[in-house]
Symmetry: C2
Subunit: 700 residues, 2 copies
């Protein structure tokens, strides 16, 4: 992990490509660094100039005469490599490469970028960019960017993969009063990436909430580790775009077809405690909420309003989110009843009526915030002839000070009449909206975070007994040697068995006599299936016989199946006929695995059988860091779980056995990266135990 202390707090900064000409990036960079009040020494570097913006200009880094902590580079791409080399020799610690013309322009740029990265690594220099706007820290202060705006000081760190969006948000922030601790434009992420800056912001005392706009993550495992640790300290809120561009990844399994690349991100965010924003508005509404309000202890909200309709709208919004309307204690209700007008509604939402002034709001808010059964409050103000928007704002601010551990949001529903009151609230850190729904959405995000940060500090490795990797290795090797990518059922079952997955006994037979003998060993009745990775729908071509009861029937079925296959698919190679113990019908489940390029194995669980793709009752988890507790959560997200608990009078099924099977599937996927996809479908769950009936494994 990069140490970014020197990055944000350099003693000395050089700007290579500094310029005298107003409007040029090399000029803006020097001006910005001076204007922000940067307390260190600034060295413009340009061989053609003597002085820039009142500072002495140097022909090159070595001419400066002292080592430079941070170098901001804004020379044409073709010259960046030479500059980086010079930086390395001069002992620079970090580079911010503003210059464009790298990976984003195609193959030649990519070669240049790789060379740049190599040089920086060889000298142990950190590299931000290339092709970025730069970075700022309002507390140092430092502005190593060409942004036209240096934001208001605040406690939000904003990390953006889009420079344009970053600049847009800075411009917008001045109008809305949003303050930032840090601003980082990631550019091409050749070296330093979102995870590096999330990790550093997590330790930055001036940062209270970490905001990211990303289009991808650079390194999945690093991201997971960093995001998880950071989320335990402070909220990490991410707007991840590109979900629609995921496209269809080639997938031969059910699990693969059901998981898209966005799903891997969704799962990764959830498992690492990251709060995902669904829109730009939500990203910044959440930022404002976390920047000034405490994280609520629970999801019970009190609403105080001076009008019925907006109260109902707010109630709807609350009940449709993960929030719930608080139920007040008897004491609270009695106090409200005794002190509010007779027509006032004293249950939640509390309607203090249209003629309410400051005092009635203050009283009601104090009572509900003082109630043990309330975790947060939303205050609605509609303009009436007697509304006191500013005094009411003060009442909200002061009452919140008495209960600083409970977040308070406001919706001032109006225009000019309420503007001064709304401004007052915003200035004092009470998020204030025009309409109630965004307030509820932001509060709901806070509750999601409150739950998410309760992740255990370090995931225990799943302890699993009876694992035999060696035979698995041999089977996979054999399959690969035979030039196959798919295991036949008996091979897949062996693999699963080596990892302690309970499999309905299955063996491969290559002659009618062998089949009969094997069936007798397993015990009747048996199911017989043609063994060929090339045949997808075995039933349709007469490749399956169920309920075979005697050795004679086995022999007959062997011949029939072979004939059927030869008739329908004469060119297909068959490995023989598989004989499987016929299991009593259980609850049909699927356990599956597909592999994400960034985050590794994704484990799936849900309703199994032939309708898997139709019902889409599947929940996913990343195998990395998966705990038994997390698997339990995973189960509860599905309809299958309702069946497992015993539906309509049925006996509950062995949930422990399912958890175990999922854990072992995850371990198998982690131990053998060459396993590309895996479907166990169906798994039959019984009141006592669970068995894998059909296993498909594909290697890549």
């Amino acid at each position: 992990m990069a140490d970014l202390h020197a990055f944000f707090r350099p003693q000395t900064v050089a700007i290579v490509g500094a310029s005298k000409k107003p409007g040029k990036i090399g000029n803006v960079l020097v001006k910005n660094m001076i204007a922000c009040g940067y307390p260190g020494r600034i060295y413009p570097v340009n061989p053609k100039e003597e002085e820039i913006e009142g500072l002495r200009c140097y022909p090159n880094l070595s001419a400066i005469g002292e080592s430079v902590d941070l170098v901001v580079v804004a020379v044409p791409a073709s010259r960046v490599i030479a500059v980086a080399q010079e930086c390395g020799l001069a002992g620079a610690k970090n580079l911010v490469v503003i210059s464009a013309g790298f990976k984003e322009v195609g193959k030649e740029g990519l070669i240049l970028e790789k060379e740049l990265t190599r040089i920086c690594r060889s000298y142990g220099m950190g590299l931000l960019g290339p092709n970025c706007v730069g970075m700022m820290d309002t507390h140092v202060p430092i502005n190593a960017s060409f942004s036209a705006v240096f934001p208001k000081q605040g406690n939000i760190a904003f990390i953006s993969q889009s420079g344009a969006m970053l600049v847009a948000i800075l411009d917008w922030s001045l109008a809305t009063g949003l303050g930032f601790s840090r601003i980082i434009s990631l550019g091409n992420k050749a070296d330093l990436n979102e995870a590096d800056f999330i990790a550093d912001a997590a330790n930055d005392p001036n940062t209270r909430v970490i905001l990211c706009y990303i289009e991808d993550v650079a390194r999945g495992q690093q991201f997971l580790r960093v995001a998880r640790a950071a989320s335990r300290k402070k909220p990490v809120i991410i707007l991840k775009s590109g979900a629609s561009q995921a496209g269809a990844q080639a997938a031969s399994s059910h699990t693969g077809a059901l998981a898209g690349s966005d799903l891997a991100y969704e799962t990764a965010f959830r498992q690492s405690g990251v709060i995902r924003a669904r829109s730009m508005a939500e990203l910044f509404d959440l930022a404002v909420a976390f920047a000034h309000q405490p994280v609520p202890k629970g999801n019970r909200v009190a609403v105080v309003t001076n009008a019925g309709g907006p109260g109902i709208v707010t109630t709807d919004s609350i009940e449709m989110s993960e929030l719930t309307m608080a139920r007040f204690s008897k004491e609270t209700s009695q106090e409200l009843r005794a002190n509010l007008p007779r027509e006032a509604a004293i249950y939640n939402p509390v309607d203090v009526l249209g003629d309410a002034g400051e005092n009635r709001y203050r009283f009601a808010l104090e009572k509900v915030l003082g109630d043990q059964s309330v975790d947060s409050a939303v205050v609605l103000v509609c303009p009436t002839a007697v509304t006191e928007p500013e005094q009411t704002a003060r009442a909200i601010i002061e009452t919140h000070r008495i209960h600083p551990d409970k977040p308070v949001f406001a919706a001032y529903m109006g225009g000019k009449t309420l503007a001064a009151g709304a401004k007052l609230l915003a200035e004092e850190g009470i998020p204030c909206f025009t309409f109630p729904e965004p307030a509820v959405r932001a509060l709901s995000g806070m509750v999601r975070y409150a739950r998410a940060r309760e992740l255990p500090e370090k995931e225990k490795e799943l302890e699993l007994g009876g694992i035999q990797p060696e035979p698995v290795k041999e089977i996979l090797q054999k399959v690969r040697q035979e030039g196959r990518l798919t295991l036949v059922g008996s091979e897949a079952s062996q693999v699963a068995g080596c990892y302690g997955i309970a499999v309905a006994p299955i063996v491969l037979a290559t002659s009618p006599d062998e089949a009969a003998a094997r069936a007798q060993e397993i015990g009747f009745p048996v199911v017989m299936k043609v063994a060929s990775p090339q045949i997808l729908h075995k039933t349709d071509i007469g490749g399956v016989k169920i309920g075979v009861e005697t050795p004679q029937e086995v022999k007959k079925a062997f011949i029939e199946i072979t004939e059927n296959v030869q008739r329908f698919l004469p060119k297909v190679v068959i490995h023989g006929i598989e004989i499987q113990k016929m299991m009593p019908k259980g609850t049909e489940l699927i356990i599956g695995m597909t592999r994400d390029v960034q985050f590794g194995p994704l484990i799936a669980f849900g309703l199994g059988g032939i309708y898997v793709n139709l019902l889409k009752d599947i929940s996913f988890r990343l195998a990395h860091g998966l705990t038994r507790q997390e698997i339990q959560h995973m189960l509860t997200e599905t309809k299958a779980y309702t069946l497992l608990r015993g539906y309509r009078g049925e006996k509950p099924k062995d949930i422990g056995a399912i958890v175990e099977m999922i854990a072992r599937t995850a371990r198998l996927a982690l131990d053998f990266p060459e396993i590309g996809e895996m479907d166990i479908n169906p798994v039959f769950a019984y009141p006592d135990g669970a068995f894998a009936l059909d296993i498909k494994i594909t290697i890549s």
Copy 2:
């Protein structure tokens, strides 16, 4: 339907309860009416005053000396009845009752309100309110309200069941520049309701879009008829709150349990072409969109941006809505390629790059709007050193004028830098947002409307042959006479059969011998079930035998079932044993009916069987006005439809038979309002035909 021409365009207005005292509602009403520039004659009425706000004041209505078209009433509730009486005698055409103290305060108020309504009806006077803010029309102009704000003239009619929300929105509208044609505060809806005003606004030439905030509808059937007719003329956009308060309605059927009261509204809105807004922000974003932009011909959107990141965010947002990214014609792509810089992205989104000025935007927008495969455009502008926000705004406005039939939206992502450009766009009717997602959401609402208004003008009554209502009447009568609320299976099957619903043959037998005889008539194998409305889960107590093959087995089963029931449920009355033809297994479906208090019968269709409540694969339609085409749509909304079309190589099922069964269920529900709930579960669908296997009917 009320004729509201005189309501909005009265020649004369009296204000009863007019007051001299500033701040009093009776004073505000007079001032508002004068200030808005109302062109008719205004008569303040107050026996204690000679003159109010420069107008002669009258002691009562008859003293005015001419008939008064509209009377605005703002006297205490206790005096409203007498005033209404006086209005009737004086020949007033319409009343706006501002006064509170009616239904909203409880039982006594309700009595008063009923009396007020009775008087108004007896004189043929229209009544708005009581307990309302009043109404306005900016084109007349008239302001019969005590709102502090008279809005900017515009083409949005806003009808609100919440007075406070209406006032809040008016206050807010001044800050945002939103213009209205009409404003109606519905109050208690004692007489005139949302449907009356929707119908009238649909015919109002000054109104282009109808906006409603409602908490309920007054009369379901009227609403459906009116909303459907209005939606064909102009968009009707409704924010309906109170969804969370629906609570659990008592439901004994699957269908009833799956439908909540909000679902009836959801279905009613969709079937009548109403666009439902999900939040206050969406309501007004949609209003702005429809107020100035044409309805798009299709869902294909072009995006023009000067930055990549925001382009991706917009693309995501589009692909996750009912919109799709347009694919440009070859000519468009070639022209863009030839005229934009090499680094520009010429596929959708078109990235004109950060250094784009007005010209590049103008060129790109003109090309994409000129493309036949583009139905609408979203233009994104991020601030850069060379952005020309105002000139670009003009380019957008002018280009849109060349293609007035394609809606154009903008997102100006920034603050002060872009403010003047954004303002220019808003003034010229190009909806302009800070972030792209609300633009996409509003555009998506327009596309929903484009589809919704294609409803046929008048729904044909479903033509159904072979309907026999008489025997149904007799069966229901018999059940009621026996003091039962539930039909036994054979009765329910008879009822269904009378409406041409294909039922697996079922008969009731009361002795083992009768059972054997009946089974022989039906044909073996048969299923036998205990007939008792009191037994819910018949299988669990041994009340069902399947696959009974011979008369001997039937007799034996009859005795066994009877004994089982006597052992488990000795006190239950049984009607006998039902013998049903055992049908081959088909695709299991459910067709159901539950009754909504406002909108009448709701018809359900989806995956059937014992997992109905778990899978929740159900779509709903109101029976009123249901067409075969609509039933077809209804089918396609379910996963069951995938099965019907033939899943995984299965033969397609007889979809026509299912449509017919749904149509007949709907007709049965419409013809017999006493049927409260009905479940046909399962229906077995086959490649040729479909049969109802188990029918539950409850009467209310």
